[in-house]
Amino acid sequence: MDYHSPASFAEASALAANATGITRFLAGGTDVLVQLRSELVTPDTLIDLKKIDGVSDINSNADGSWTLGVAATGAEMSEHAELGRDWPGVVEAMDLIGSTQVQGRATLTGNLCNGSPAADSVPAMVAAGVSVTVTGPEGDREVAVEDIPTGPGKTSLAKGELISAVHIPARGENGGDAYLRFIPRTEMDIAVVGVGVNLRLDGDTVTEARVSLGAVAPTVLLVEDCAKAIIGSTLDDAALDALAAAASAACNPIDDKRGTIAFRTEVAGVLAKRAAKIAYARAKGEQA
């Protein structure tokens, strides 16, 4: 295995473009090292991104948006009070992943590129409208998070391409987000269902919404029917029921010992309602 620690994303991209065999990028490494050690994936080329300047930064931009480096860890996100005030759902989703030790290394970008349908941070990022910069041999392009995963363990990134930054939109007025997941225990487990909700209000009425489901299909889903179910409503019981029905209808889950198809489908609706209520309360400025 060749190990490289390039000084720029362009250099990292060139290394990957010219590499033969299996290439992996190393940010937090909490998935890459597990796969390496268990001999599931032994990369021929490992490209460590942590020597690139600014790669661990969490920056707020003048327009209120946020730019996160690809190696900014879950622990650094959780300790960032301003980021947590703007996007509590995104930060809480990231914080649900693994232990304190894992949080010290794990990153949003790694969680996304690992391609797990059950990745906790991904539905929250999709709901929040997060995009990433993809650097490749042809230069940079902006890609919505929902367009990165293409199936379990697979992404739309081509050979030589890698994510070089994460962009979280400006929170803006009267908005709130939330992420909830179901696991069979209280901590340290993988989502059986995950739901991210992000919405904006005008008075009591929902004017914008994005709802995303995790662990109920081969990729994380952005469900427009869920958004339609609550836009224009005051999140009354009828809207919540319509939201739950739309969430359940979007599910195409696997059936395994951790959750049956029927269970995951039902729980997606329940969690969608609960997450929407939290996001709504946050948009109203209430602590939730």
Partner: protein
């Protein structure tokens, strides 16, 4: 396959080693530096027996490559005591018999020290969540949590 020369700081001492890029920090600590306090339990970041602090951040040394340690400040369980004088956490663990087989203990001590440095006054719930990534199959955790909570109280009174 070429080896990498790594220069890093462990418990305040500058150390150097040569490593294969596939070797983890845990491998390097144990096999090259003879610091065998950090244990390999699972090797997949689930059990916390290999916990160390890197630049003040608690991590699993099995989830970090040895080559990534270049220029870092690493603290292991071997650096917790001051010579022959045990750290208050170590004393409390003995007092409370907060260990049986002892395999998880180095990782728990490193993790608990990291908690008390960040949060000198944790609630029991905070302590339990902080240590959720440190598995112990002997004690049932209660004695560990009591030892940590009492140490926190003692350190607050001393400061």
């Amino acid at each position: 396959m070429s080896k990498f020369h790594v220069s890093t700081t462990v418990n305040g001492d500058t150390v150097e080693y040569l490593c294969d890029p596939r070797e983890t920090l845990l491998d390097c600590l144990r096999d090259k530096l003879n610091l065998t306090g950090a244990k390999e339990g699972c090797g997949t970041g689930d059990c916390g027996a290999c916990s160390v602090s890197v630049d003040g951040r608690l991590v699993c040394s099995c989830l970090m490559l040895g080559v990534e340690a270049e220029g870092k400040q690493i603290e292991t369980v071997e650096g917790i005591a001051d010579g022959d004088v045990l750290h208050p956490l170590q004393k409390k663990f003995i007092e409370h018999a907060a260990l049986q087989c002892g395999i998880c203990t180095p990782g728990i001590l490193v993790a608990a020290k990291s908690l008390l440095e960040k949060n000198p006054n944790p609630t029991e719930e905070e302590a339990r969540y902080w240590l959720a990534g440190n598995l112990c199959r002997c004690t049932g955790y209660d004695k560990i949590i009591r030892a940590v909570m009492e140490t926190a109280e003692e350190l607050r009174e001393a400061s």
